[in-house]
Amino acid sequence: MKHTFAVLVENSPGVLSKVAGLFSRRGFNIESLVVSETEDSSTSRMTIVVEGDNRVLEQVGKQLNKQVDVIKVNDITNEETVERQLCLIRVSADQSTRQEVLQITEVFRCRVVDIGRKSLIVEATGDEAKMQAIIRSLWPFGIMELVRTGKVAMVRGERNKGK
């Protein structure tokens, strides 16, 4: 099963490699990992999606916690969260198909951020399910290039800062 960990870490050099190295050497599978500075410049937030059984997931949490540079680990899988990822899709779209592609982007509330003679770049944000749906819908037109950020997530409602 896939789990999402929200991990607050020291914003220090080497912390990403420490965490990534931990995952690879312990054989944990990272589905995605996003890291960036938080509202406090001395900390960074990693959102890590991991696949594994309960035993693996328990170890992931404990091994992360053991790192001196890791301040707090939350498994937010079962919490109510807002989650987003961003996707850029270069989809082939000539005169004959352009209208149809534009309609699809409208349905999904995507933005067209670049137009070429034979292709468009579509920017989509949303959760995993929405990303899948957009990609599925644009697939028949020919997806020439696709880049995605990993998932970022935040727990809904009032919350103490993870300190």
Binding site: G14, R55, E58, Q63, K66, V68
Partner: protein, 556 residues
Amino acid sequence: MHTGAEILVKALERENVEMVFSYPGGANLEILDYLKKSSIKTVLVRHEQGAAHEASGYARITGKPGVCLVTSGPGATNLVTGIAAASMDSIPLIAITGQVATSMVGTDAFQEVDVTGITDPITKHNYLIKDVNAVAQTVKEAFYVASAGRPGPVVLDFPRDVAKASSKIKEVASIDLRGYKPNLKGHTGQIKQVIRLLAEAKRPLILAGGGILGSESWDELRQLAESQQTPVANTLMGLSSISLDHPLALGLAGVHGLPAANLAIQRADLLVGLGTRFSDRLSCDVEGFAPNAKIIHIDVDPAEIGKNLRVDIPLVGDLKIVLNQILEKLEPVQHQEWLAEIAQLKAVKAPACRAEGLSPITVMESLAKVLPAQAIVTTDVGQHQLWAAQRLSHRRPRGFISSGGLGAMGYGIPAAIGAQMACPKDLVVAVTGDGSFQMGLPELGTAKEQKLPIKILLLNNSYLGMVKQLQDFYCGQRYAAVQFTDNPDFGCLMKAYGGSHYLVTREEDLSQALADFLADPGMAVLEARVAYEENVLPMVLGGNCLSQMEGIEENL
């Protein structure tokens, strides 16, 4: 204003560092320069791996962090085995590596390696110190991290320009690491559960690991065992947490565990694991491990609980504190039936094939008889290590120093040097084999220079006996790359290093040779030419569980 090197050395003094095991190079010149002016003794080693093992030997007998200092590049990479060994065995170690100047970092400069990158997987934490103003605080933090909670090695990578830069010496703040706050006190609810299970148990067993030594809780362990009339088995790392002379002590458990220890684990209805990882060398087939027992696991590192083994009652905390919490509430109990059964199991001796010629087992048993209680024993890795683990009495807490988790050959001699440096008046015996000995040889130079009277018991069978044994069991006795057909003359070697050499080839000469060897005032080797056919038994073959021991009848 003071230079980074000076601030570093002053910070080491503040941590009460007595000695630094060190090898010089271009990148640690400034540090050594200030060390010479300080109250700290610089012990010049012969190979950096020796420096790390020596610091480890020092740490293991004193309980204080051992410190080694080397140069960048090869100096640092030569440390790696020693750091990994300390990491596996939870030994507090501070390894300071010189580094090329920060402006050169990342350019593949001469003698540059990515030390923090290389040591990430084998350290508790590491630091690349880039700012001279951070030196004092970082050193203090490093010592804290190395010792607090579950101990481990910490690397300080120290670029040369930082060593040369200047700063004021600042007051260092007390350590408050938001990312590292080990839980030391046991959860009271869990402690109640532990006490309830202990009261209900009919066949309880304690499995004491290295955590008892790390937390200095051997007295509490003995009290717990005595009040609950509960036998104690040891992991390799836990040996010396209870003397094997104690009536409740069962000794080594695991792949080469003593029959009583292994069988007690399999028959127990409650297993209390104290400061152990339940490693594969101990548990053998995990599914078949302690099949009848509820398992209590007490450890300061939460990540160890549930990692290798299902656990019924997890309890996180420092053993010294947790055991006292438990002892406060504990009612004494008797387990006469169980102890009678244990007594029968203890009568089952570890077998020996007793090949022609001098048996290494006889040598070890003879050593056990004459070894003073306060003696410190270090070992290398191989058959000799396990015979020592099985047969010696381990009467001095922390007095059995061996590379457990990593199993690093070449550990015994430098570890003995580190222990002897820490305890100059005590008898230190390094038990080794002809394979391991030749991996630790360079450090004989250090021992000679420091005039250390270490005693080296060399079991010479001209084979890499442990691997030979594996080939006996797993390769149909087809021996490959395990025989030394032309070993050096160890007598001449000792002469070169200014030590004495005693040779014994017959059992009848053994006790005299041992007496002469132990009474020798200086460095000495007792070379026992022993039969190579002897194997370490019992042995649990891969995939088997602890009750299936080669050399021991099943269903005892």
